[in-house]
């Protein structure tokens, strides 16, 4: 009984170590291929369009309502202490430091990350990836590297957009609907938000972009050769990316603060 339990724990531990190693090798190999010719700017722009531009609507929508909720909750909470004037800084700091990067990345994971896993997984199942390799075209370089770059560039841009939209969402509710002072809203943002906050947000969004494209591409690339395997890979990609984003957010926050 006890030996069986220990053996099971050992197997799981070994699997986690092996899988982590494989994922890191995948990441390093993809980066290595990124800098070897032929460079593929068109592929990068194509992926940037897919990951970035096509995620704009869902990210803007999420950010707008998050900002509006922050405005609503913040206004009534701060009014209890007579501090409505700092509503702008509460909304802006919450969004720039935490909610903007985390929520935008989770939305990108759900929309673009899952699609990346499914697309690469189908290419694996239908032997399109093998076909690339037989043509002496490195599949990591052709398929994965552009997605990784697009994640690194696209997610920070989306996060920046989410921050701005969220701050305006907070303004809409806190000032336009509930009658807060517009001057106080903007001036509290100006006085409270420092370069360190913006820098931290950018750093988080870059690392989250890397996590999303890395995990989702890895899971798709190593899909088991069945429809069920593809479904499992897509689920695992979304869950693992989301969990890693939250864990990494905590780690980075504790380092940056």
């Amino acid at each position: 009984m006890l030996i069986g339990l220990l053996a099971r724990i050992g197997r799981v531990t070994l699997f986690v170590i092996q899988e982590t190693g494989r994922m890191l090798i995948f990441l390093v190999a993809t980066f290595a291929w990124l800098f070897r010719p032929p460079l593929r700017p068109f592929q990068i722009f194509k992926q940037l369009h897919f990951i970035g531009y096509k995620s704009t609507f869902v990210v803007v929508l999420t950010a707008a309502f998050t900002g509006m909720v922050l405005g609503l909750q913040g206004y009534y909470t701060l009014r209890k202490f007579g501090s409505e004037a700092v509503l702008g800084s509460v909304v802006a700091l919450s969004l720039i430091r935490e909610l903007g990067p985390v929520l935008a990345s989770l939305m990108v994971t759900a929309r673009a990350g899952s699609a990346m896993t499914a697309e690469i997984g189908i290419m694996r199942i239908t032997e399109q990836i093998d076909a690339l390799d037989t043509m002496a075209i490195n599949s990591l370089q052709y398929l994965i590297s552009p997605k990784l770059v697009a994640g690194l560039i696209g997610v920070p841009l989306l996060v920046a957009m989410a921050d701005v939209v969220g701050i305006y969402g907070g303004y809409l509710v806190g000032v336009d609907l509930l009658g807060g002072n517009p001057g106080a809203y903007w001036s509290s943002i100006e006085s409270a938000v420092e370069w360190k906050d913006v820098y931290g947000g950018i750093l988080k969004s870059i690392s989250f972009g890397l996590i999303v494209s890395w995990i989702c591409c890895y899971k798709g690339y190593h899909t088991r050769m069945s429809a069920e395997g593809l479904g499992t890979a897509t689920t695992e990609a979304v869950v693992l990316s989301s969990v890693l984003i939250l864990i990494w957010d905590y780690v980075l926050t504790s380092v940056l603060l």
Binding site: T126, Q128, D133, M135, A136
Partner: protein, 277 residues
């Protein structure tokens, strides 16, 4: 270890003995073993593919014929054993060195493996655009030529999803041929096709093989159809090559496993078109 480019190899250390290969070997597998998912698939494969000939590998489903094919082009690496291509041992090659070897190959996959986001024209043009510096007019000329050869003229604008199974295979064949490779691997090229379309694909493969003279390795279940079109036939069973012979001689083999497999495929009939006869 022998040189893969050596002329007149004797290779058939299998239970059933074989004659000297009449031409130099292009691909040679020596003691290849492979385990996938804890299951031994190849258990010491020894096989020589003669240069410029069409060799068909037959055998029961799930015996690892496609796995064997993937070893020849370096998509899989053996756990043990060696894979020689024209005198070069490739099982340890990676990256650029392996890509150099792969440039001599093309492969027609079971599912045709066309890129579904590209049109038929773009699929066939893909290796040319990626691997050559030909001007676009020359790329277009070559693609149209290949599409015409496989009977897909005027279909270049269609996407793979709009094609029938047979048309997909033909488009895959056009893509395989467009770089004029020395070796083409066919992984069950007629699976899922009706008998007439299967015959059309076989005829096309034979016609292209005669025209371009490439070394061809085909994995197939189509018995007896493969006998008239193949130069050599090998049988994979229990993870080993148990028989290999010129097509006409293969049907005379008296091994029970071979007999059983052949007879299960239908009545064997050779035609005068048999290149091996």
């Amino acid at each position: 270890m022998g040189d893969g480019g050596e002329s007149g190899w004797v290779l058939c250390p299998s239970p059933i003995a074989y004659s000297l290969l009449p031409t130099p070997g292009m691909i040679k597998l020596v003691g290849v073993e492979k385990t996938l998912g804890g299951q031994p698939v190849l258990r010491g494969v020894d096989l020589t593919i003669p240069k410029g000939k069409l060799t068909t590998i037959i055998g029961p489903s799930g015996e690892g014929k496609s796995v064997l094919l993937k070893h020849m082009i370096g998509l899989l690496q053996p756990d043990r054993g060696e894979v020689w291509v024209d005198g070069m041992e490739i099982s340890h090659l990676r990256g650029k060195a392996l890509n150099e070897v792969r440039k001599r190959f093309a492969m027609l996959f079971q599912s045709a493996a066309l890129f579904d986001s590209l049109t038929v024209f773009e699929n066939v043009a893909f290796p040319l655009r990626e691997k050559s510096r030909l001007p676009e007019t020359e790329v277009a000329r070559r693609v149209e030529e290949k599409l015409e050869q496989v009977g897909l003229s005027g279909m270049g604008h269609k996407f793979p999803a709009e094609l029938s199974g047979g048309m997909k295979k033909r488009a895959g064949l056009a893509r395989a041929l467009v770089m004029e490779p020395e070796i083409i691997l066919f992984d069950e090229p007629t699976t899922g096709l009706d008998p007439l379309m299967a015959r059309t694909i076989h005829d096309l493969i034979v016609a292209m093989h005669r025209t371009f003279g490439f070394t061809a390795v085909m994995v197939s279940h189509e018995i007896p159809e493969i006998f008239p079109i193949s130069d050599w036939v090998a049988m994979l069973k229990d993870g080993k090559i148990v028989a290999m012979a010129p097509s006409a001689d293969f049907q005379k083999i008296n091994d029970p496993a071979v007999r059983e497999f052949i007879s299960a495929g239908g009545t064997v009939s050779l035609t005068s078109s048999c290149p091996g006869s």
